[in-house]
């Protein structure tokens, strides 16, 4: 007969074993940070709310590691930060993660992961019959982020790219993987809706067959945007003697349009009443280009990319996506819908940051610095009575008066466990990447449409919980064998209390509370004094806690 180990009530008042430290704010801030703070604070004043306190250093360190390089800090990294006496250590850490060579590879991997999911989805290029080559996409993105390529250049390349999808082929150009599976079927309809949504925040997909019921996009505009893609083709190259696609060449070819005249390459579309109308390439701001379908006269995709470069929506979309990544909510919801029907929470700030990004040559790292040094990013996730009305899950506009709790992404969990515990980190880069991809694929479910829509089950539902309880990855992460994370901690000469601290610091960037320490002693007794086994129980419980899986 088993007795419950512990019974407790939620009314217990918690005491912290150690007072959390908060490092002082840096004194001189870039003007952009000052401007962000001013705009956000004004909004607090307007709504008569007061922000939560500044988050302690441990949690902030964990937060910024997760957001910039996609994993939690290791114990050594966390201790180095906590032990630093530098008054500007938060700024210094951001600088290190962005500019220190030691982190270049992880920075590039994190942002290429994020962008691959935006551009081709989690399942893009994972299917044998896919026209997209995931490795090619990732290689292009990794190189771009490792070089800190200006954002506008990356957009230009992704929209205008020609070449082969597969690394190692003669014309390899990884950027083509974004459009490779979006141009042929349905006359480039997918290219139209993806390019406009991802880079310009214009949701046009519903205007393919009718005028939008509640935004300014009209069917005519959809097909005018679509006309830019009519020279583009994805040519399949097969493995010799088989029907397996080896790779795809994305090329531009002269087009005669649907009227049969390359000098005047028009396309047709149908209104709901059956009438046929004509469209030529016209950009969203009304700028037209030549009607010629000859690539030598007018390379339509290049023209489109050039027109995009001058458009303020591109700037705002970049800012909005980045802001949402760091703060959990963008200035609009959804993040990629910037139409007038969808007002932003801080329109002037979005406008201003867009202009600043343009002024500073679209340097992604610069923007990351501004956001991570701003006041809202320093705040605790603990709501107070003075700001609990600031709850975007209630449909309120976000006011960023406290940090919004959100769950880690599957990719972040994987990377965190690899770094914190060495789980899954063995073999060549290719082998590790294969392992990671296989593991990630268990959470992707498809909707069965031609557009490749998908959802993730790594969303706090049961499949995720089952994996965290019983999965191989967790088994590896909680191993106590020699050379493992727990094995090393357990075999240290430290006192047990220090060992316990280390496990908590690694997992949740804080030391255990008194209740947690009491629980640990009980577990130690239950494990017959075996420290490693007790630490294993605690570590497993920590990994399965909300506090671990949340970004806060």
């Amino acid at each position: 007969m088993l007795r419950p180990v512990l019974v407790f009530s939620s009314a217990v008042v918690l005491c912290f074993a150690t007072a959390a430290t908060v490092s002082a704010q840096a004194t001189s801030q870039p003007e952009q940070v000052v401007a962000i703070d001013k705009a956000i604070e004004q909004n607090w004043a307007d709504y008569e709310i007061r922000p939560s306190g500044i988050v302690d250093d441990g949690k902030w360190c964990r937060r910024v590691y997760l957001d910039i390089i996609g994993r939690i800090p290791s114990l050594e990294e966390l201790n180095a930060f906590l032990g630093s006496r530098d008054r500007n250590k938060r700024q210094a850490l951001v600088q290190t993660l962005l500019y220190d060579d030691r982190y270049t590879e992880e920075y590039a991997r994190n942002w290429s992961t994020i962008w691959a999911n935006v551009l081709i989805g989690r399942s893009g290029g994972t299917d044998r019959r896919s026209l997209t080559n995931r490795d090619g996409m990732l290689k292009y993105l990794r190189d771009s982020f490792a070089l800190n390529k200006p954002y506008n250049q990356m957009v230009y390349e992704l929209v205008a790219a020609e070449g082969s999808t597969k690394p190692g082929t003669e014309n390899f150009n990884g950027a083509v993987n974004f459009l490779a599976d979006k141009v042929n079927d349905e006359k480039g309809v997918l290219a139209t809706s993806s390019v406009s949504r991802v880079f310009l925040g214009q949701q046009v997909q519903c205007t393919q067959c009718h005028n939008h019921p509640f935004n300014q996009w009209k069917q005519q505009k959809f097909w005018e945007f679509n006309a830019f893609f009519r020279q583009t083709r994805a040519l399949r190259r097969y493995v010799d003697g088989t029907r397996d696609i080896d790779h795809v060449e994305l090329v531009n070819e002269d087009t005669a349009g649907e009227g049969g005249d390359p000098e005047d390459a028009m396309i047709f579309y149908e209104l709901r009443n059956g009438l046929t109308k004509v469209a030529y390439p016209v950009f969203i701001d009304g700028q037209e280009i030549s009607h010629s379908g000859f690539v030598s006269d007018s390379n339509r995709r290049e023209e489109l990319a050039k027109l995009m470069m001058g458009n303020e929506f591109m700037d705002k979309m970049f800012v909005n996506r980045m802001w949402a990544h760091f703060l959990g909510y963008g200035f609009t919801k959804p993040v990629d819908d910037l139409g007038p029907h969808n007002p932003a929470s801080h329109p002037e700030l979005l406008e201003y940051l867009g202009q600043q990004v343009r002024k500073h040559s679209y340097d992604p790292k610069q923007l990351i610095e501004w956001i991570t040094m701003s006041k809202p990013y320093q705040l605790s996730a603990q709501m107070t009575t003075a700001n609990e009305i600031d709850d975007p899950t209630m449909g309120e506009m976000p006011k960023f008066s406290h940090f919004y709790l959100r769950q880690m992404q599957a990719e972040e969990l994987y990377q965190s466990l690899v770094t914190a515990t060495g789980a899954g980190a063995y073999g060549s880069y290719e082998k590790q990447e294969q392992e990671r991809r296989k593991w990630l694929s268990q959470f992707v479910v498809a909707f069965g449409t031609d557009e490749g829509d998908e959802a993730t089950t790594f969303n706090g539902s049961i499949p995720q919980a089952l994996m965290m309880f019983n999965g191989d990855l967790i088994k590896k992460a909680t191993a106590t064998s020699k050379g493992s994370f727990l094995g090393d901690i357990a075999s240290d000469d430290d006192r047990l209390r220090a060992k316990l601290d280390n496990v908590f610091l690694t997992g949740v960037a804080r030391r255990p509370t008194r209740m947690e320490q009491t629980m640990a002693s009980k577990l130690l007794a239950a494990r017959g004094g075996d420290e490693a086994a007790m630490l294993q129980d605690i570590w497993w419980a920590l990994l399965n806690s909300n506090e671990f899986i949340m970004q806060h």
């Binding site: 088993l2 419950p4 180990v5 512990l6 019974v7 407790f8 009530s9 918690l14 079927d185 997909q205 519903c206 393919q208 067959c209 009718h210 019921p213 059956g274 609009t332 819908d337 603990q382 709501m383 609990e388 899950t393 209630m394 449909g395 309120e396 709790l405 769950q407 479910v445 498809a446 909707f447 069965g448 449409t449 031609d450 829509d453 998908e454 959802a455 089950t457 706090g460 539902s461 049961i462 499949p463 919980a465 089952l466 994996m467 309880f469 019983n470 088994k475 209740m515 947690e516 629980m519 640990a520 577990l523 129980d537 419980a541 920590l542 399965n544 806690s545 909300n546 506090e547 949340m550």
Partner: protein
């Protein structure tokens, strides 16, 4: 210690105490007991937008009519020649031919058809799977299987009802990853208690609802890990001829799994068949692959439920996000079309054998009273004995009527 014993302890051992699973003497006896008055619903979801003008509402002789011929059925209507097995079951199923909706984009259409609401950035509406599971769950407190199972694809989420009502996604072979507990029970119990201490502290410190949601999900996860009811997912245990009858493809096996889950008392099951987004070359795709797969599984499922006495308590819903254009495009395909299309319903308290509503001779317009997703779902709720007065309150305090206040399709209610 027996599983049952263990589960009881677990319930007592932590603050996550819920109802302990009460195991019957055998799964069979339990199933018998459950069957008496328990309602379930199976949604056959046709991802991509199926061409209903080629399946349920043919227009022979019209320019828009396409290549297929109609055949007679056991109900009061004709359907496509490539659906012979389902034709023999149509006295159990009814076609609503006057569906008329406004969302012709996949994502928006999927959201709308699954929730009865158009997407709104300020509120996440729960999908019907979560809603119906939520309403019918009270009839079976001892169910350890998640009350909403989604087979072979993704569904729409639980919205403001919370992750405890999220679709449990499984592949059509019913294999569930990481189900096996790799730890002795006593130790798992102690770990859970430790987890509870950490979790409770976190909830107190952050004052957020996410963490308490997490506790509910963990509780459900433990329940299913330790429940013999999960046997229902072992579709491979079915006799070979049964597997053959449903079709050995993913959708066929998914429908067979759905029947097993109904027997186990799961209130809502969604089975996905994607690949209906036929913008080009539609006729060979339908005739050679899609329709044979659909016909076999749908025909087998209806017949099998009926034969086991389950159909009177199980609603079947067949729908996609929209239909396809009557006009055949230049690539011999059909595009997205929501203005006039068909859905199919039957089982539970829904009348079979009827074709409700009608479209024009070319299929371009609805000529009778148009019906919406809300109307269809109100009718299904009624057939399942769920009160249409049921009201939810969203997080921001908005009242939300079940089935979005849709009106009943009168002809279908006995």
């Amino acid at each position: 210690m027996s599983r049952r014993h263990f589960v009881k302890h677990l319930a007592g051992a932590s603050a996550m105490a819920g109802t302990a699973a009460l195991m019957g003497n055998s799964i069979q006896a339990q199933a018998e007991e459950m069957r008496k008055n328990q309602k379930s619903a199976i949604l056959l979801w046709m991802g991509g937008g199926p061409s209903t003008i080629d399946i349920w509402d043919l227009k022979p002789g019209a320019a828009t009519g396409g290549e297929f011929r109609p055949i007679s059925t056991t109900g009061d209507m004709q359907i496509c020649e490539h659906m012979p097995l389902t034709a023999k079951q149509m006295h159990h199923l009814s076609i609503v031919r006057s569906m008329s909706t406004r969302e012709a984009d996949h994502n928006r259409g999927r959201y709308y058809m699954h929730t009865g609401f158009v997407p709104n950035p300020n509120i996440e509406h729960p999908g019907y799977g979560s809603v119906i599971a939520h309403e019918l769950f009270s009839q079976r407190e001892d169910l350890a299987i998640p009350p909403f199972v989604s087979i072979g694809g993704a569904s729409t989420g639980p919205g403001f009802l919370g992750m405890a009502w999220a679709p449990f996604s499984v592949t059509s072979n019913g294999r569930i990853r990481n189900l096996e507990m790799k730890l002795e029970e006593k130790r798992l119990l102690q770990r859970m208690a430790a987890l509870d201490v950490i979790e409770t502290g976190f909830i107190n410190r952050t004052r957020g609802s996410a963490a308490s949601e997490h506790q509910k999900v963990l509780k459900k996860t433990l329940d299913l890990m330790t429940s013999e009811q999960m046997e229902a997912f072992r579709v491979e245990k079915e006799p070979e001829e049964m597997k053959e009858m449903y079709g050995t493809n993913g959708f066929g096996q998914g429908c067979l799994l759905a029947r097993r889950l109904v027997e186990a008392g799961v209130p809502f099951i969604e089975v996905d068949l994607g690949g209906w987004d036929n913008h080009g070359g539609i006729f060979p795709t339908l005739a050679d692959t899609k329709l044979p797969q659909l016909d076999k599984a749908m025909g087998a499922l209806t017949a099998d439920l009926e034969q086991r006495g389950l159909l009177e308590n199980t609603a079947i819903i067949w729908m996609g996000e929209f239909g396809r254009t009557p006009r055949i495009n230049a690539g011999a395909g059909r595009d997205h079309w929501a203005r006039s299309w068909s859905c199919v319903v039957g089982g539970a308290g829904i009348k079979g054998g009827l074709a409700v509503g009608a479209t024009s001779s070319d299929g371009m317009a609805v000529e009778t009273e148009p019906f919406s997703a809300e109307d269809l779902m109100a009718t299904v709720c009624k057939g399942l004995g769920i009160s249409l007065e049921t009201t939810y309150t969203s997080k921001n305090g908005r009242p939300m009527k079940i089935a979005a206040g849709g009106k009943l399709i009168r002809e279908l209610i006995a």
